[in-house]
């Protein structure tokens, strides 16, 4: 199946865009914006709004129509979890029945990143958006170490509490600092011969499963992920490992 953006008619290819140009607002700026949208490949490019923002900067809202399409059937996604996501109750039941012991998960926002919002959304008792966090799971012993935790300290702690999985949260992504930090974590695990001992999971608003796997993690979770997804992934991996062993 071939798909294009939908405005009000199938295949009309309608798209809205907004952007800033480093030029003054005015007829010339608007024409520059329209030409830019056309150059992106849009037909019927229209600048529907512009305003001056600061000296030499202007903002544009544009609409255009595209003939570009994608083949929906040819797409394969690489999410960490499949179709089935366990609820909290289901997670606990699967842990009891299939693993027969509590599982231990350690998490932190690592490096200099001071934002606990991501790791808290996944781990805190309260959770986020009506999805309870891992601390609430009866069959999970969850340790949230907070923010600005050095990678080696996180690993030390995971060894100390005999963790099954380590969650690494990264929110600040300016200048790709998260990539450096996430890479360092995996390298430290490898250098200490611990990579296979833990299920390593990365998370953050700009982190997807694809990136995480590329960097050597078992899985990654981005925007829209809750504790349910993370728990499902870890539980299924642990069951897999148990069967392999």
């Amino acid at each position: 199946m071939i798909v294009r953006p939908y405005g009000d008619t199938l295949d009309d290819g309608a798209v809205q865009l907004s952007f800033t140009l480093p030029v003054a607002d005015g007829p010339k700026g608007r024409e520059a914006a329209r030409l830019f949208v056309e150059k992106l490949g849009f037909k019927h490019a229209e600048i529907v709004h512009s305003h001056a923002m600061a000296e030499g900067f202007s903002f544009y809202v544009a609409y255009g129509r595209t003939e570009t399409s994608v083949d929906f059937d040819a797409i394969h996604i690489e999410e960490a979890t499949g179709e089935k996501i366990y609820t909290m109750a289901e997670s606990c039941e699967v842990i009891r029945e299939r693993l027969g012991r509590k599982i231990v998960i350690v998490g932190a926002c690592t490096g200099f990143d001071a934002h606990t919002v991501g790791i808290d959304a996944i781990m805190n008792m309260k959770g986020y958006n009506h999805h309870y966090g891992l601390e609430r799971y009866q069959e999970i012993e969850a340790h949230n170490l907070g923010a600005q935790v050095p990678n080696d300290k996180l690993i030390d702690y995971a060894v100390k509490v005999n963790a099954d999985a380590i969650l690494v949260s990264q929110i600040v992504t300016q200048k790709d600092v998260h990539i450096q930090n996430m890479t360092e974590f995996i390298e430290l695990l490898q250098a200490r011969g611990l990579r296979e001992r833990f299920i390593a999971v990365a998370g953050g608003t700009r982190i997807g499963n694809k990136l995480a796997v590329e960097l050597g993690y078992d899985g990654g979770f981005g925007k829209g992920s809750y504790a349910d997804h993370v728990a499902t992934f870890i539980i299924d991996r642990l069951i897999e490992r148990k069967h392999l062993a």
Binding site: S18, A54, F57, F59, A114
Partner: protein, 519 residues
């Protein structure tokens, strides 16, 4: 102030009594101690500046040289070195940066040292009073040109020169306050980097040179826009008082400066923080700086409905810590935030109740109101609506300092267009409902009055509990933000020093005298 919520005066008075009782024993501890950064801040007020070839700042070099002698105050050795070498302050700084050790010099005549110290105090006093006078003159010249509430924007590129462009654009778009967000690691550095900086993550280093560069850029904008632009930075973390000192010298106008934030959210040792916050607040008080407190942070870790009382309780404590450091009510930008789950039925009414309650309990404080962050998503269109509701509450309840909500809050540090759209949103909402607040009365027995009373009741009960166990024990038990902080743990404890009876700090004495605090 007109009251719409009919809150119990007796309960508000009780909360203030409790806050005073809770803060008092902490104050006794604070007055008996100093820290490495209090000493470095004192040296900075005296003029110590610069760095050695490895980038170690001169105030740190001095404090390291005086290890084991800090109990007598670092300034003593510094003025002694000035007297003994006959150098100017700048000359001595250069020598120290080049490796000169001032610890070895025998102490000179006490009267000469004290006279030299008084000379440095006078230089400092003249500069900071001059800064205050300049600010006051500009505020008077452009009176009535700032928005109410003041619109506050952040810049955070990591590069001070790029920040300057963004800040000038923000001023041109209508911002009243520009804050330069600090690089994410800086709160845990036990030194303040030197010079202009162009690298940072999620923000820009707070350095004295960066302060000077931004101040000068915004001063241009002040006269161009015909509106005073308040420059804001962070007197928080391990160098809280040093940053306050730099801000006083370079005429910053606002400082994020909370009495407990570093303990709870940065795991800085509580003894260290309590000592540091006092000296930093005395400097801010003297410099005419408006502090911003960090109560909004409670709501990013805890639920904004269940834990609303911790915000109010912390406001009472921050107010008391501010009073005993000499800050006037107009300098107390007590914080709170619009962080209730947007899917909650009548959540907006609770936001309105909380904001109106804070307004009535702290009538003279320029309350600092933070926008939604926790429930902002990639749905920028919904984000615009969340921010519009936030703007409405702020205007209707007369908040003082209004942090503009960014539609891309959950996505990236703001683009220029994000700031512009935020300003347009706020200006539209605040203008179209400019006088609505004055028209509103709340129904007796209705949701809003009931909610405000409930939060006040809970805050009083919470303060009663803290009063019984003591503030430090309460923090050890995790009473604030569900975070437990043992008193002997956390960063920076090794920088705490008990003052000797002969502790020498004429800057501290001068500030206390100027602020009418007991010596």
């Amino acid at each position: 102030m007109e009251t719409k919520l009919a809150l119990s005066e007796a309960k508000i008075t009780r909360a203030r009594e409790l806050a005073a009782r809770i803060v008092e024993p902490v104050g006794a501890f604070v007055d008996a101690h100093t820290t490495v950064t209090v000493e470095r801040a004192t040296l900075r007020l005296a003029g110590a500046d610069g760095a050695d070839a490895d980038g170690v700042p001169v105030p740190n070099l001095i404090v390291d040289q005086l290890k084991g002698r800090l109990e007598e105050g670092a300034l003593l050795a510094y003025v002694n070195a000035l007297v003994k070498t006959g150098e100017t302050v700048a000359g001595l700084n250069q020598k120290i940066a080049a490796g000169f050790n001032i610890a070895g010099l025998p102490l000179g005549d006490r009267a000469a040292l004290e006279a030299k110290a008084q000379e440095l105090v006078r230089t400092f006093s003249a500069r900071v009073k001059g800064n205050r006078a300049h600010r006051e003159a500009k505020l008077k010249q452009y009176e009535g040109r700032n928005h109410s509430p003041m619109l506050y924007l952040i810049v955070a590129t990591g590069n001070i020169f790029e920040d300057v462009k963004q800040a000038q654009a923000a001023a041109e778009q209508g911002a009243d306050v520009v804050a330069v967000i600090r690089t994410t690691a800086q709160s845990l550095l036990d030194y303040v980097p030197y010079g202009a900086t162009t690298e940072g993550f999620g923000g820009t280093y707070a350095t004295q040179e960066n302060f000077r560069i931004m101040r000068s850029a915004l001063d241009e904008a002040v006269d161009k826009q015909g509106r005073y632009i308040y420059l804001t930075n962070y007197a928080s973390g391990l160098c809280m008082p040093e940053i306050a000192a730099m801000g006083a010298l370079e005429r910053l106008d606002m400082m994020l400066n909370d009495s407990m934030y570093g303990i709870l959210f940065r795991d800085i040792n509580m003894y260290r923080t309590f000592v540091d916050q006092k000296f930093s607040r005395m400097i801010n008080a003297f410099a005419g700086v408006i502090i911003n407190t960090g109560e909004d942070n409670y709501l990013t870790t805890s639920d904004a409905v269940e834990k609303a009382y911790t915000v109010l309780a912390s406001q009472f404590l921050n107010e008391r810590f501010a009073q005993v450091a000499g800050l006037e009510p107009w300098q107390m930008g007590l914080g709170h935030a619009f962080e209730i789950d947007p899917t909650l039925k009548n959540g907006f009414l609770m936001e309105l109740a909380q904001a109106q309650m804070a307004r009535e309990i702290f009538p003279e404080a320029p309350l600092k109101y933070m926008p939604p962050t926790k429930f902002m998503t990639g749905d920028i269109f919904k984000g615009v609506v969340q921010n519009a509701l936030f703007n409405f509450v702020s205007q209707a309840t007369g908040q003082g300092i209004h942090l503009l909500g960014m539609l891309t809050e959950a996505i990236h540090t703001p683009y220029m267009q994000d700031r512009s759209l935020a300003l347009e949103n706020a200006k539209y909402v605040m203008n179209t409902m400019a006088d609505l607040g004055g028209e509103i009365e709340f129904k007796e027995g209705g949701l809003i009055k009931t909610r405000a009373r409930q939060v006040l009741d809970e805050a009083v009960a919470f303060l009663e509990k803290i009063d019984q166990v003591g503030l430090m024990d309460a923090m050890e038990r995790g009473e604030f933000a569900d975070i437990k902080r043992p008193r002997d743990m956390g960063k920076g404890l090794d920088g705490l020093v008990k003052k000797a009876p002969e502790y020498f700090n004429p800057f501290e004495a001068y500030l206390k005298a100027e602020l009418g605090l007991e010596n």
